[in-house]
Every structure is written in structure tokens, then in C-alpha cells.
Symmetry: C2
Subunit: 394 residues, 2 copies
């Protein structure tokens, strides 16, 4: 018999995926250039040339056994050393290779982090608005994801709601800053306050509450924005990183877990990840990709387009009367819709070939997400459609 | 709190790993050339040049977005089409892309296959001798692995023991042919008999018993050996493949699940794998590697060295009086030790710098495994050490 859990999931099709498929289909009718497709968070800038060149160099010079042989299940040792050094240099941390576990992207990192510190029945808290994949990430481990309602004024943390929801079954809290879908970076003040509550509640409940910090957008922070390194503020932090966005190579599936050296159990956690891998069939990201990113750790793709696009959209949206918190990073913006029903709002926008994603699946109704990882030229052309839509419909 | 399951696993160090580390350490004392290290199943022949050339070509010509962008979670569609076509051409099957799910190696494939058809508490049967990683692969899903004792005369299947162990909780049977550690290929006769029993028992228990066929050694079959394609003989077969051995790139983590089109639920299983991935953080193998193997599906590394090494070892072992079933493929041989305690036997062999792995963890005591994926020159030099060991110790 097929396992019913997964059969049941087949009928719940992703809203984002549906809209993205609609945009592509519509593009076949009127030309994709004329569809203002803000649905998908797929990096639009090329991988830095240096990364491709590193791979070509490796393929041309390294021996087959050295390059394509089994890597250790925690990742290639020299790669882990370099990742630790880069984090220490950039964020003033004290990681060693023993705190780094290489993964197939942030999804792989989170899969390990959750299994390190939760068992079925435990609760994991996260904050709306949130990346909807957290639902299967957490719930399919047997733990239960609980979502703290948003602070819609700032998209920082709604601490009142958080304190009412945290309880003795809470084993981990997940944060995502810079945030998908709001584009907001949690401020130093927010993270300090979060850290204080976690410390106090850990003491109260007699067990550490771990902070799982999902950071695929860490390198996409706009001019002058306060976007601190989360792990600096709370010892029991497990950082989950992906190079997908910073190096524009989401298909290559490469990231890591970085365990704060002061975390309870820090000395065991990377090797435990190696054991977790045996159960979930992870067994390392590809050697070639590990070696290639290790040579380019301080590099990012040219991501200036994202800030440029954000400013154009933010100015236009506020001019048109949208309530909108200005993003501090990522390539998302999350304005309030012009009616309570964001699904109806986005349906109407579709008539103008302006395709955004209604916010319901992000745990924060009444808003919509625009993923502006598209060309600036297209963003500019989209404004007229947006204006017409607002003028004619509201 | 750290999750105890994984903490407990840290103390149980792999026998193979320990012996391999011993061999490397000993190599530092006397020169690794003088250590006859038969511990690890790490392919010793280089990746075919064409594979590296394909990657260089892709890196030099494809657009960044096309090459490094997100692939669909089931794998890159054109890759799945090509994998299906290659299997159909070589094994007379009728796969379409809808039956193919790309994975990070065989471990990733098995992780999905198990979750398709078992829930916690279900039983999975496999046959000794067996790859010890099946223990964490199965048991960490919550299902329970049961091992059918070996038929030590042939290392085919001990059907009497199998029929006594199969029961209404058996949801899947795992086979590994060509087999690690025995090197044996299940014959047409064995697979037909297995298929008949599974069909009969499925009917008796009122649910399909799936056959999970783990086939990383499928392309390493020696001259004249009967090594049929398992899925041809039983409709409810999920084949799990890895390119690690056939293309000598175990570090690149690439393989697939191939679902027999007549399998119960065949139309749903690949998309269900996509859902399973969300829970275990899989999300596809690396795009570059997917595209590279798709261009080289009918190619293998030059694996003639394995058969040459096998013949040399088999002749010498039988000359020395070892009971030994002649391998039909892989790069393993699995002779009976010269005393009942294989661990003691292998300890004694270490004094001659002849390092094999005792069979206890393979579920078949009293034997030892030699992984002869090393140079023929070294195999030949090892014979004198083997002879001295046997002469002086037994």
C-alpha cells in the first residue's frame, strides 16, 4: 500500500506553483515578456564567472579519485575548514570545522537541524509571515510547527503572541531573516529580545530551546540596514545556510549547518548530523560543488539589481497608497492588499497580467508577495499595469 | 536536549571505518604501498573522460540560469526522459519519465523508496549477507529491518528461512544484486522464485509486498554470469540506482528511483517521492551532475580491473583451501574464514598487513570481505602476505 500521508499531499497543490504555471501558460498566449510574473524566488542574476572557472579548473586538473571520490559524510574536511574561517572572519565567530556540516542546500540543513533537537510530538515555533515549506519540513519529522501571528506593522516579531505560545513542549524556534516573504531583516533589538526570552524560557522549562536560523538570504541585505548575524546573540543557535541565492546556483544544492561553538551539545552535533544522514539518505552534497564554493566563499553574484527593483516597487506601491513595510533585504516585498481577501485581490491583478502571490499560505492573510528577482526593465514596464489595475479596480 | 537516538549511534563505530582508518595509519608507518588494504568499496578506476568533458562543455556554454537554476523536485525533465529511454533500451522495460525520480545516489533512492511503502512498525526483509547501512536506512524511518539468514553454500536466497519470516507486517523486501558483500548475482531462477513467493504472499496478506532492488553494482557483472534485471520479474519493483560505481563518481551523489510501470500505485509514486523529499530535505541532486550523467548513460568506467582482480584472488584463495563462492560481479569477494571467529581471523591477518573486514556486521558470521577495487599489481603483491598468513597461522 502506498503511504497515505504522501498520497494526501498530492492534492494540495502549492499556490505559488499554480500561479507560476499560470504565468508561464499566459506567457505562451501573449508573450512571456508581457506577463509581469512576480511569483517565483528564483535568482535572476548569473553565477559569478569565478565559480564556473573554479569548476572547470578542478575538472581539468584534479585526479578523478580526489575530485569525484567519496567525501566524508560530514563534508570534505578542507571545505569545512574554509567555511568556518569565512564565517569567523566575516561575523567574528569562533567556529572550527567540527561545527560545520555540509548539506544539500538550506532544506538539507534544516532537515538535519530539526532532527538534532526534536522528536515526534515536540513543538517548533516560527513567526508569520513564514516560508510555507516549513510546514512539511517540520511536520514530516513528527514534530509540530506552530506559527506565531505576525506583527503586521513592522514584520519584526510579535513578542506578546510569542510569549503566550511558547511552552514546555517547545524545543526549537525557527527564524528566517532576511525574511521570505516580507523582505524584512530582524533588527539587533529584535534578536536581543528573542534571545532574552529564549534564555529565560529555557531556564523555566529546564531544557534548552534551540534557535534554528534559516539564512539563505543572509548575503542579500540593502544599504544601511541593521541585519545582525543571529548566532552572535544566542549561544544555542544552529545556522542553516544555502549558497543558492548568494551565488545564484539553486540547482546545485549546496549549503551547510553551522553550530554555535557554545551551543549545548556543540561538540556532538556535527557528527550527529552524519548519523541523521544515514536515515534520510542525505550523504553529502556533490564533491565538485563543495570544492567550488569553498574557493569562492567571500564572493556573491552581482545582486544590486534586487535593491534597485525593490526601490522602484516600494516607491510606486506607496505612491499608489499601499501600506508596505520597506524590505531590508532578499528579493521579496509584501504589501497589504487593497481588500481583505488577498486571493480575490491577486485574481483581479491577474487580469492586468500582474502576477503576485496571495499571502494566506505565508500565515499572514490580507497581503501579497512580489518576488522581484526579474530584470529592472520588466519591473519598470510592470508599473503601468499595476497603476491601471489599482485605478480601475479600487 | 539532543536527540538520544543519534547520540547513541555515535558510540557504535563502523567496523569497516575502523579497519580502514587502521590501514591508513599503518600505511603511515610502513608505506601505504605495503598495506594490503581490502577494506573500502571505493571505485579505483577513473571517471570516463567523457563525463568530465561534458561538465566542462556545460559550464562553458550553458546559460547560468539554465545550468544552475532550480531543477524540478523530481529531477530535470530531459534527464528523466533519457534515463527511462536508456533503461528501456538496455533492459526491455517500458518506463516513461513519470517513473523516474532523480536522487542523490542509491542512499537517497532507498530513503524515498522505503517511505513510499512503509510506515513505522512495518517490517522490511532483506537477505544476509547484506550491506550494514540497511540497518539505519530502514530502522531510522521507524520501520523494522529483519534479516533472513544466508544460504552460505551459494549466497543465493535461503528460501526456507525467508518463507518462515515473511508475515502480514512485511511491506517490502530489499535485495542487492550484484551483492555487497558476497559479490554474487542472483540468478534468473532465484529472482523468479522470489517473485512467485512475493506474489503468493501479497495475495495471502491482502496487500502488495514491494520489492526494493538496490542496484549500485548493476553494471559490474563478470563474463558469462546470469544477472537479470530484477524489475522484469516482479511488477511491484522499485529499482534504486547509483552512478557511483559504474561511472566512478561516488562523491557526486547521483542516482535514481525507477518505478516499474505495472507497480501498484506506479502513476503516483514519482510525485510522491517529490513530497517525501520535502520532509527529508532532499530536493534533487545537483543540476550539473544530473545533466552530465544524462549525456553518458550507456557509458561505464573501464571496470575490467575488477574481474581481473577477482580471478587472481579467487584462484589463490581456493588453492589455499578457502571455501569461497565465486563472485559474479561487484568488487567484493566473501570467503569463509579459516576459523569460526571471523573477527579473530581478521585480527591475525592484520599482522601480515592483509586487511579484510570480518563478516559479522554483514549478518553472516564466519566469513570476511575483501574489496578488491585496488590495482592488480597490489593484489598480486598481496598474495605472498596471504600465503604466509595462512601457512603460519593455520
Amino acid at each position: 500500500m502506498l503511504v497515505q500521508t504522501y498520497v494526501d499531499m498530492l492534492s494540495a497543490k502549492s499556490v505559488i506553483r499554480n500561479l507560476s504555471e499560470y504565468a508561464v501558460a499566459r506567457g505562451k498566449e501573449i508573450g512571456y515578456d508581457n506577463v509581469f510574473d512576480y511569483t517565483l524566488g528564483n535568482p535572476s542574476v548569473p553565477v559569478p564567472d569565478a565559480v564556473n572557472q573554479t569548476m572547470i579548473e578542478l575538472l581539468s586538473t584534479k585526479s578523478s579519485m580526489e575530485l569525484h571520490g567519496y567525501s566524508q559524510s560530514l563534508g570534505i574536511p578542507e571545505v569545512r575548514v574554509k567555511v568556518a574561517a569565512s564565517l569567523n572572519r566575516r561575523f567574528g565567530m569562533n567556529y572550527t570545522m567540527d561545527h560545520i556540516f555540509m548539506t544539500s542546500g538550506a532544506a538539507g540543513a534544516i532537515a538535519h537541524a530539526l532532527r538534532l533537537v526534536t522528536v515526534p510530538g515536540d513543538e517548533v515555533l516560527t513567526f508569520a509571515p513564514f516560508f510555507p515549506e516549513y510546514n512539511p519540513y517540520v511536520n514530516l519529522t513528527g514534530a509540530v510547527l506552530k506559527v506565531v501571528p505576525a506583527d503586521v506593522k513592522s514584520f519584526q516579531i510579535n513578542f506578546e503572541a510569542f510569549e503566550s505560545m511558547i511552552n514546555e513542549k517547545t524545543m526549537a524556534v525557527m527564524v528566517n531573516t532576511p525574511n521570505n516573504p516580507s523582505g524584512i531583516c530582524y533588527s539587533t533589538n529584535t534578536i536581543e529580545k528573542l534571545s532574552n526570552i529564549l534564555t529565560e524560557k529555557s531556564k523555566q522549562y529546564g531544557h534548552v530551546i534551540y534557535l534554528i536560523s534559516d539564512e539563505p538570504y543572509r548575503e542579500i541585505v540593502f544599504e544601511g540596514v541593521d541585519a545582525p548575524y543571529v548566532s552572535k546573540f544566542y549561544d544555542h543557535t544552529i545556522s542553516c545556510y544555502s549558497f543558492s541565492k548568494s551565488l545564484s546556483l539553486p540547482g546545485e544544492r549546496i549549503g551547510y549547518v553551522a553550530i554555535n561553538p557554545k551551543c549545548e551539545g556543540a561538540d556532538k552535533m556535527a557528527v550527529m548530523c552524519g548519523q541523521i544522514s544515514r536515515g534520510i539518505g542525505h550523504n553529502c552534497p556533490a564533491s565538485l560543488i563543495q570544492l567550488a564554493v569553498a574557493e569562492n566563499l567571500d564572493l556573491t553574484a552581482d545582486m544590486s539589481v534586487y535593491e534597485r527593483n525593490m526601490n522602484i516597487l516600494y516607491d510606486e506601491l506607496t505612491d499608489l497608497g499601499f501600506e508596505c513595510v520597506k524590505p531590508g533585504g532578499t528579493f521579496y516585498i509584501f504589501p497589504k492588499a487593497l481588500e481583505d481577501d488577498a486571493i480575490a485581490f491577486c485574481e483581479k491583478a491577474k487580469r492586468y497580467d500582474f502576477i503576485g502571490v496571495p499571502s494566506d499560505s505565508f500565515g499572514c492573510p490580507g497581503h501579497f508577495r512580489l518576488a522581484y528577482c526579474i530584470s529592472t526593465e520588466k519591473v519598470e514596464r510592470s508599473l503601468e499595469a499595476l497603476r491601471r489595475f489599482v485605478r480601475e479596480m479600487y
